[in-house]
């Protein structure tokens, strides 16, 4: 028991320490805790740096023109225009840069779409305004509703660090397991998003979308609904508790024991 508590404490610290350091001024995507989220992060940074280089080049060209060719400094206008060579160059080079982005993007997308051979299947259903989780191979099903007190939302008491990010029943998942999510909705369109997993997927009434994850590190990962779903849109958070496999089996036994 105490070992577990210690481990849980250590995990909580490990999971939150890097997050709190920059939490107030977070400026970038999280790298995430799955191989897929890391790939997406790398792709994001690759495209980002290409865009930065292009942007800087464009801005320098503008700056140069603006500084060097002012009439107030006596600049006389040239009269050149139309140059086919230049125009071909600035059409072809951007195209090649785009190809350099498209190749890794395509490879990543193919991986994302391969949700085969999942070891665990979870059905996620969006409701106005909470989530339902069903473990397809176990007799487990529960609602996950927000628990942030209205006193905090109405500024009557101090907001906690997990303000608008806390739920009564978190989704419990094992690490190192390929998990397929079947995502749908009971009313309007919602979108299930945990940034640490690298994706969001729309929950659409009458349709079942799928996506998958394989979590590398135990911890608590929080997410939010990402598709406007009415007045409670900002208030249907997602909380995932990723635990080691043996702990997960204990949890399942506990749940099914209770239900049965």
């Amino acid at each position: 028991m105490s070992v577990q508590a210690l481990r849980a404490g250590a995990l909580a610290t490990a999971a939150t320490a890097p997050a709190t350091a920059f939490a107030e001024w977070g400026v970038n995507l999280p790298q995430g805790v799955t191989a897929m989220s890391n790939t997406i992060y790398d792709l994001h940074m690759w495209v980002f740096w290409i865009c930065v280089v292009i942007g800087v080049g464009v801005f320098l060209a503008i700056l140069w023109s603006v500084l060097a060719y002012r009439r107030s400094k006596g600049a006389e206008p040239a009269h050149f225009h139309e140059n086919t060579t230049v125009e071909i160059i600035w059409t072809v080079i951007p195209f090649l840069i785009l190809v350099a982005m498209a190749i890794p993007a395509t490879a990543t997308l193919v991986d994302m779409y391969d949700s085969s051979d999942a070891e665990l299947e979870i059905k996620v259903t969006g409701y106005q305004w909470r989530w339902q989780y069903e473990y397809m191979d176990e007799d487990i099903s529960f609602f996950s509703s927000p628990t942030t007190p209205s006193a905090e939302q109405n500024n009557l008491s101090k907001k906690s660090d997990t303000y608008n990010l806390e739920v009564n029943n978190p989704l419990v998942l094992p690490v190192d397991t390929k998990i397929r999510f079947l995502i749908t909705s009971n009313d309007v369109i919602h979108s299930w998003w945990v940034p640490e997993f690298g994706w969001k997927q729309d929950a659409i009434p009458g349709f079942i979308n799928k996506n998958w994850t394989r979590i590398d590190e135990p911890g608590t990962y929080r997410g939010l609904c990402a598709e406007l779903c009415g007045q409670g849109h900002a208030f249907m958070p997602i909380e995932v508790k990723a635990v080691p496999k043996d702990e997960y089996r204990e949890w399942v036994a506990e749940q099914t024991g209770e239900d049965g």
Binding site: W25, G26, V27, N28, L29, I40, L43, H44, V47, C51, I54, V58, F59, I62, S65, V66, Y69, R70, R71, A75, P77, A78, F80, H81, N83, E87, T91, P94, L98, M101, A105, L109, Q153, N154, N155, T162, N164, L165, D187, I189, S191, G198, W199, K200, Q201, D202, I204, G206, F207, N209, K210, L224, A226, E227, L228, G230, Q231, H233, A234, F235
Partner: protein, 528 residues
């Protein structure tokens, strides 16, 4: 034949504007109608802007301060709808009305009565849209994209009036577009071939075709909603065998070209202004025309990049990703052309030029974040976050709005016969420039860090950047009131403007006196 035309012309000399309110209600004069469009669109810009101020005030701090979530959703929805349909589109129609006849050497728009009808339908549709705010159950609250079933099964009662307003506004825009096409095709001065048309005329011609192509699609999608709500159909209702995703396909088939409808005329404005203040011809006129046409055609092939997370098959994802990325090529061509036009020119920095350079710089930022958003696997993170909000405000404000401001400063001397105060104009530019960047740049950060859009309240880790955004937004909002004063002051007491106030400006509009007489080009000019 010529005798008849001459008799007509003599008649017109004694035919000034009517007096009082009748002049504005019944006018068929393109200049009067253009003025009404511009004044009306700026009024709507302030109304939509006031809603944005309320949104940013609520988001100043986490927690619920000023408005409740239900009303907040009405504000985000109405802000978007009013800015798109009430402010940006009508402002460009106003510019088209004023400038296209002057730029092609035509006496008026080809269909003057239709022109009057277009404007008054715009007012009618906009009033219906705004009136929904005062209805039981409130205004539309489902976002300007009005996704079903939130807007159908779950929508407020006022949705029906919203649908009616969209129909009316659509008819108004289609008639405006027909008028622009008829004028440009039929009424150009002798000698003005297509490839001699000013860029603003070219971009509007292409925009008008986009409008005619996609507004009926918008009308179709809202009609399907109307059927679902009142007549028992189930186009978008999964319980009745319908498909909510179908809504998004149809909507974005309209919605993506709509984005270019709001930007292409601004491209045209910038392509007039940069050569004028660089005193150097546009670097690649021909390639600019082709680039605009290419962007317009591609705009029909990329709609599902707004839907990467709805669960479309991988082949679809790949197609829409590649098609979207390709748009960067013609857009790059335009940016490079504007810079090459400035390069080795003789530049001065009057207010229109400042807004034009601000346009090129900030539109590049929005364009590059657009390239990032096109990357489908990464969009599974970006989608529906503040990163998207930052992106489209960086293309719409420096794009559409700066384009309109640049045009207003550039052509105000022609419209009013007066010069505006250059010092005040520059102040307006710099306040807008700083306000815009302080408001919208931090949204990239909160979006990447995980804040979804359309949130009335947010986790505390996004608090700092949201407060900065709000401060920037207030600055941007307040600076726009300055424009009212600048225009008012110019008209009241500005210096008299010569026929061609900008020494580098070229085009037929500068050959008529300032202010432009009520009737111009009754005899068509000759273009070499």
């Amino acid at each position: 034949m010529s005798a008849v035309a001459d008799a007509h012309a003599v008649d017109h000399d004694h035919h000034g504007p009517a007096k009082g309110i009748a002049r504005w209600l019944f006018t068929t004069n393109h200049k009067d109608i253009g003025t009404m469009y511009l004044v009306f669109s700026f009024t709507m810009f302030l109304v939509g802007g006031a809603m944005a101020m309320l949104i940013r005030a609520e988001l100043f701090e986490p927690g619920m301060q000023l408005i409740q979530p239900a009303f907040y959703n009405q504000m985000t929805t109405m802000h978007g709808l009013i800015m798109v349909f009430g402010a940006v589109m009508p402002a460009f129609v106003g510019l088209a009305n004023w400038m296209i006849p002057l730029m092609v050497g035509a006496p008026d728009m080809a269909l003057p009565r239709l022109n009057n009808w277009s404007f008054w339908l715009l007012v009618t549709g906009s009033l219906i849209l705004v009136s929904t705010l005062f209805m039981d159950g409130g205004a539309p609250n489902f976002g300007w994209t009005f996704y079903a079933p939130l807007s159908t099964t779950y929508g407020p009662d006022s949705t029906t009036f919203f649908i009616f307003a969209i129909h009316i506004l659509g008819i108004s825009s289609i008639m405006g577009a027909i008028n622009v096409i008829a004028t440009i095709i039929n009424m150009r001065a002798p000698g003005m071939t297509f490839m001699k048309m000013p860029m603003f005329v070219w971009t509007w011609l292409i925009t008008a075709f986009l409008l005619i192509a996609v507004l009926p699609v918008l009308a179709g999608v809202v009609t399907m909603m109307l059927m679902d709500i009142h007549f028992g159909t189930a186009f978008f209702d999964a319980a009745g065998g319908g498909d909510p995703v179908l809504f998004q396909h149809v909507f974005w088939f309209f919605g993506h070209p709509e984005v270019y409808i709001m930007i292409l005329p601004a491209f045209g404005v910038i392509s007039q202004i940069i050569p004028a203040f660089s005193r150097k011809p546009l670097f690649g006129y021909t390639s600019m025309v082709y680039a605009v046409a290419a962007i317009a055609i591609l705009s029909f092939l990329v709609w599902a990049h707004h839907m990467f997370t709805v669960g479309i098959p991988i082949a679809g994802e790949l197609f829409f990703m590649y098609a979207t990325m390709i748009i960067a090529v013609p857009t790059g061509v335009k940016i490079f052309n504007w810079i090459s036009t400035m390069f080795r020119g003789s530049l001065t920095f009057e207010t229109p030029m400042l807004f034009a350079i601000g346009f090129v710089v900030l539109f590049t930022v929005g364009g590059l974040s657009g390239v990032m958003l096109a990357i489908a696997p990464a969009d599974f993170q970006y989608h529906d976050t503040y990163f998207v909000v930052a992106h489209f405000h960086y293309v719409l404000i420096p794009g559409a709005i700066y384009g309109i401001f640049a045009a207003v400063y550039y052509w105000l001397p022609k419209w009013s016969g007066r010069m505006y105060s250059e010092a005040l104009g520059k102040t307006h530019f710099w306040l807008s420039f700083i306000g815009l960047n302080v408001a919208f740049f931090p949204m990239h950060f909160v979006g990447l860090a995980g804040m979804p859009r359309r949130y009335v309240d947010y986790p505390v880790q996004f608090a700092n950047f949201n407060m900065i955004s709000s401060i920037g937004a207030f600055l941007f909002g307040i600076s726009q009131l300055l424009l009212v004063y600048i225009v008012y002051r110019a008209i009241r007491s500005g210096n008299k403007a010569p026929a061609r106030p900008w020494d580098g400006a070229e085009g037929l509009e500068w050959t008529v006196p300032s202010p432009a007489p009520y009737h111009t080009f009754e005899q068509p000019p000759k273009v070499d």
